[in-house]
Structures are given as C-alpha cells and as structure tokens.
Amino acid sequence: MATEILMPALSPTMEEGTLAKWLVKEGDTVSSGDIMAEIETDKATMEFEAVDEGIVGKILIEEGTEGVKVNTPIAVLIEEGESADDIKTSSAPAPAALNDSEGKAAAPDTGSTPDTPPTQPQVDTSPDWPEGTAMKQQTVREALRDGMAEEMRKDDTVFLMGEEVAEYQGAYKISQGMLDEFGDKRVIDTPITEHGFAGIGVGAAFGGLRPIVEFMTFNFAMQAIDHIINSAAKTLYMSGGQMGAPMVFRGPNGAAARVGAQHSQDYAAWYMQIPGLKVAMPYAASDYKGLMKTAIRDPNPVIFLENEILYGRTFDVPDLEDYTVPFGKARIWREGDDVTIVSFGIGMQYALEAAEKLAEDGINAEVIDLRTLRPMDTGAILKSVMKTNRCVTVEEGWPQGSVGNYISSVIMQEAFDYLDAPVINCTGKDVPMPYAANLEKHALLTTQEVIDAVKQVTYR
C-alpha cells in the first residue's frame, strides 16, 4: 500500500520549514533509518529518516522549496509492484493535533466579577477545641515534639529524618527524646546532604511512607528545592492523580539573631506560590501542635515553617489527648472595629504588640493570624476588612512579591468598595540581612512600623 510521507515537525515550535535537499530519488528503495532528506527547521538543519520500508514512488516537493507547512505530503512511498502513477495524493495538509477544547477552563474558585456586589464570605469561626477545655503551659518546642510523637505512635509509616535529629536530639532540640522512644529505624540522622535526603524522603513517600523531613533551617532547603517543588509538589498532577508525596518538610524559617544573610531568610512567599504544596506558618504553641498533626495526616506535601525565636516561647495549649487544627482556617486573636491587622508566624508578635499599644490610643485593631498560607483563609480577611475598612499586613519577609502583596490584591478584587484607605504591607527591609547588631535591628520589622502603618490607614 502506498504511504504518503508528510513534512515532519522536527522541533516543538516548527510550523514550516525548507526542504533543503533530497538524498533519495524516485525509484530508490529505502528502509527504516535511511536518511531521505535534509530539512531546515527554525532551529537547525535536520536529517529526516525513513520510518517505513518501500520504494520512493514520487517526490512531490522539489528540493529548495521554502515554507513547506508541516504535514504537507512531500513524497510517496510505494511497495513493490505498485505504480507511482496510481497514486492520488491529498492536497491539503492533514490536520494536526485536535483542537476541540478551546473553551476556557473555568477555575473552581471564581471570585465575584467587578459588576456584581461583593458577597459576604463564608468563614469558619468555630472554636478549635471545645469551650471550657483545660489548658496547660507549653513551649513551641515541646508542642512540636508532642505533635510529631503522637502521630508517630498512631501511624508506624511516619518517620523523622534530618541532620542531628536523633543522637544529638535535634539541632534546636525539637526531637528531644524521640530516638529513645521510636528507635533509629524511625528517627534517622542523615549526612549533611539536603538535596539527597530530601529526594530520598520524597521517594519514600512515593513508596507509601509518611516522612517528616527536617531541615536544620529552611535556608538549607534551597539545596533541596528541586525535590520539594518538582518531585514532591508536582507528581500528583503529572501522574493524573495516581501517586503523590504525603509528607512534611519542616524546620525553622526566617531570621534568628545575628546569623547574617545566608541564615536569615523568610521563605513564606516562595512556597506559598506553589500549587501542590500546603504551607503552614504558625505562631502559638497550640497551633504548632494542632497544625503539625494535621500536616502529618495530610495526603499532600506540607511545608511547615517554624521560627527559632518562637521555639522557647510558652503558650497555652489545650490539655487534650488528641486535637488538630485545620488548614485554611485563620485565628482571630483580637476583635476590633477600626483596622484589620493580618499576620502569621513571628509577625504575629509585632501585630499583637502593636494592637495593644494602639488600644491605648483608642484604636481597636482586629488581629488575624492566618496560621496557614496555602490554603489561605482569605474569607476571614475579607469579612474583617468589610467591617473595619482598613488593612495592614505584617511579615518578616521581603517586600517585593510578598505574602502581603497577595493579600492586598485579594482585598482589591473582592472588597474594593469597602476600603477607606490603601492597604499597607509591613515587611522586612529590602536588603540581605546584615550581621551588625544595629543594622540587623533596622533590617527587621518593628512594632513601631506596624503602629505607624495603622495610624496611616486610620488617618490618625
């Protein structure tokens, strides 16, 4: 049977090309792999090989022809006994890939269009634990360890790996006592090799385990970021839902004290951008514990951003056998009518201090702790802004492409008519973290800056 040979696409972007040279002539016998022609693409001159066996019955496009569209018949291959004269060639190029789904895919989370009035957002305001629950005092460090240990007791596929997590009891003593309880099969010291052990962690998650990968700090996770994003976050999508990486990447994030530029970066905005990841960045010990338990149970890769300065801070933690805090649910620390202050992680320290001082001046701020950045409880922000008509965001990260920038855009789109002042983003300064004590203070966010921003949006 005669086969048409079509002008091939020889690069991802090629639509047409030049048939530079024929290396066969009519009547030649060719077999799979023989070069038939040289074709110039938009990138290079390529040799074009025969795929089928046969005799070159007819050459349809002369060499030297420019602008030959992909899929135009350029020659006809016949079998022995056939005549080239019998061949009817199709004149039009064969259709390329189907294109029957040009309709725009609708996002499931379509917001209101500019013409429709903003609707009151649905917000979950239920308490995280029953009213009247007894509380105990615990540090963030203890709460984190308890959260991990409780989940490890319940599920033996959960294990902890990282640098110094076992015998050293954790570089920041988060995993204190865990080696003794769970043994070296489940609390595993790794060599200093972030890229490698993050990849091994993701592979173990593909294989059905639930790894907790500790980075001594998230600064070092930059060595592993390919596995976090390309291997962990994207695999569920790329596999059509067949497999993913149910795991937690955790460790301290952001500035500690006097450790300089390479040890002081806040990665909240980086990870928050990635579909496929969930991102938690808690402030209080109760949330560290409740969110860690949720993170371990979550079937997706979770980035858990902790803070070294908060590790030793003591908070009230519910004295319950088992409680969790859901992702995507903000916590209102303080109710107020005059302004909304939105923060997360250590930023909450500035937000709460500022709110207290502002109250002395008669400004009642509502303070929202996002707790998780992806999913983000934008409903809680909007609901509050619709009441206060003013918003200030607070974070330690850099200003350009910040979490606050995203929050501002959501408020602009969803509650523009409610705003009485532009949203202000309080952030760390746009500089690498300096070492000198005085300079470091200047680089970091201050409570006074939050107070000033609130006064600006309230026109005081």
Partner: protein
C-alpha cells in the same frame, strides 16, 4: 566478562529468547511510530526516543520480580513498555489525551503507573536517583525483599545528587540497583568531553558499592548482570551499580540535528551491534524459530503499535475541568473561601 560467556553458551530457553525478541521489537516499533506521530504534530514538546537501547530494560526486567520498582529519567517509553504498561496508554499520553497514563497531564517525560510500580518519568536530570533510593528505603522500612531499579544516563552520572544518594544507599544498605545507561552522549556532549574518569561504575568503590560494566547491546548479558545485582540487593547487602554500555540511534530528542557524531558511527552500531538483530540471528541459527515464526511476531507487534497509535489519535483531549484536578490528593480547592 559475563557478556562473552553468555554469548558463547547462552543459558536461555527458546521461549525466553522469543520473549526478548518480542519485547525489544515492541519498543523499537513503538518508538518509530512515536517519531512518526511527532513529525505529524500529534506529539508535542520534547520526545526522547529509546531506539538502540532496548536490551537494557528488557534484560533487566527479566531479572525483576513482582513488587520490584523502577524509576527513570525522561527517556522513559522503553521502561514503561518493558514493565508491562499498556502501549495504548503510553502512546495516548504522548499525544496528550484523556486515555493516557496521566490523563494527558504529564506527557512523554512524566508518566507513572502505580499498578506496574513504575514511578516515572522524571524531567530533571538525576532527580530520579535519590527518589529511587527513597523507594528502596520504603521497601527496607517495610521489611520486604523488593528492589528498586533506578535508571539514569551518563549525563546524570555527573550530578552531585547521585553521589549523595550513593553515600546514603550504602550507609543504610538500601536495596537499590543503580543502572547507568551509558549511551555515550549527554545530549550532544560525548562522555570523553564531559567526564574525566572513563568508568562511571568504578565511582561506586568510593562508597563501598560493588558494580560492573555490562554490554548493553546483549540482552542476555544484561539479564545475567541484573540477576547478580538483584540477588545482592535482596540478600540485604545494599546497593549495586550496573554501568550498561548502550547506544541511542536517534537524536537526544526529536529536535536534535545530531551534528556531534558521524552518521558512520551510528550506522556501524546499527549494522554490527543491534540488540534485536542479535537475538533474531540467535533464534534463527539455533533453529529456535523459523523466519515465519518471526514474521508472525513482527506482524503481532505492528498490530499492537498501530492500535496504540489509533487509540492515541482517537482518545479525546482531556476535559477542560481536568486543569483543576489532581493538584491536591484531597482535592481541596486552591482558595477555599475566596
């Protein structure tokens, strides 16, 4: 060397030889068809063909047992066919259709099959190496005797994460076979121009990992080496390295003009070392099969490949709603409340 011994006196049944012939031919014909569909614009983006390297995966699959895992780079079509994935589903993924293994969302470089324990299909050079060690870690943790075949090329063999993985694999005695498919070219850079020490497998010695070089154009030699490696892993002795010398006949990807090597070099490999021709002649000279027997296999393969191409053309493009699925395992919308 194992390769020569096997060539002299093949310890293989006629049935097994025929299976090797069939499995390698399926990969070859499938890839030729994929090249054709690419030329027609039905397959887009990057498409890396496995033609010439067929004996590597077919030989190693002969050493695998149920439950063993495999993971590789973006030159992955051969690995998927060799582990029993459906050619229709693979081809339909290449054309980006609903019937593909990843519903059209992964493409040539990103394909997976949980059922066949095929863990991708990874587009970042060498990323699959620690991932493969991690899969092996999961089997060791669970306490079974499965192994993971972790394939990577001579190009990937210069990435740092390979050596991070070697160190931890030997430190923790992970049951992983590191398979270096040395086809002598990392895209357009020959190993001579990229690599100071000529033997990649010898680098394992620095970590205490045994290994060997294998003739990758001889499927029997590959199987024999694979059995040895797998035995080592299953016995709890840790990882093993196989550097399999192979050759790809086609360009790095479909858009490779291949100016870095001569046509004669490629033709010489095809003429003298083709792995499929070698088995074919073994079958015929040993009178294990007649020309007609082989023709019947050729015909069967052609039909399978044509059916896969038909399926890949006819399967619809994924529904527009698929854009928004499989981002999270519990399908939490990206912004629950906005």
């Amino acid at each position: 060397m194992a390769a020569r011994k096997a060539a002299k006196k093949p310890n293989v049944s006629a049935e097994e030889l025929k299976t090797f012939y069939r499995d390698m031919l399926l990969i070859r014909r499938f890839e030729e068809k994929a090249g054709q569909l690419y030329g027609m614009g039905l397959i887009g983006g990057f498409c890396h063909l496995y033609i010439g390297q067929e004996a590597v995966v077919v030989g190693l699959e002969a050493a695998a047992k149920e439950g063993d895992k495999r993971i590789t780079s973006y030159r992955d079509h051969g690995h998927m066919l060799a582990c029993g994935m459906d050619p229709k589903g693979v081809m339909a993924e290449l054309t980006g259709r609903e019937g593909g293994y990843s519903k059209g969302k992964g493409g040539s470089m990103h394909m997976f099959s949980k059922e066949k324990h095929f863990y991708g299909g990874h587009g970042i050079v060498a990323a699959q190496v620690p991932l493969g060690a991690g899969l092996a870690f999961s089997d060791m943790y669970k306490g079974n005797d499965n192994v993971t075949f972790t394939y990577f090329g001579d190009g990937a063999a210069n990435q740092g994460q390979v050596y991070e993985s070697y160190n931890m694999a030997e430190l923790w005695m992970l049951p992983v076979v590191f398979v270096i498919e040395n086809n002598q070219y990392a895209m357009g850079t020959s190993t001579k121009r990229s690599t100071k020490s000529p033997s990649y497998w010898e680098r394992g010695a620095a970590y205490g990992i045994p290994g060997e070089e294998v003739d990758g154009m001889d499927v029997l030699a590959v199987k024999e080496a694979g059995q040895k490696a797998v035995e080592h892993c299953r016995a709890g002795k840790g990882p093993y390295i196989l550097e399999i010398k192979t050759y790809r006949y086609r360009g790095h990807s479909m858009s490779d003009p291949a100016k870095y090597r001569t046509r004669e070099e490629v033709q010489k490999m095809r003429d003298e070392r083709d792995p499929i021709e070698a088995v074919r002649s073994m079958l015929l000279t040993g009178k294990h099969a007649s020309e007609d027997d082989l023709k019947a296999i050729d015909k069967e393969i052609k039909e399978i490949v044509n059916a896969s191409a038909e399926f890949a053309k006819e399967s619809p493009e994924p529904a527009p709603e698929e854009l928004w699925t499989d981002i999270y395992a519990d399908e939490v919308p990206q912004e629950e409340t906005a």
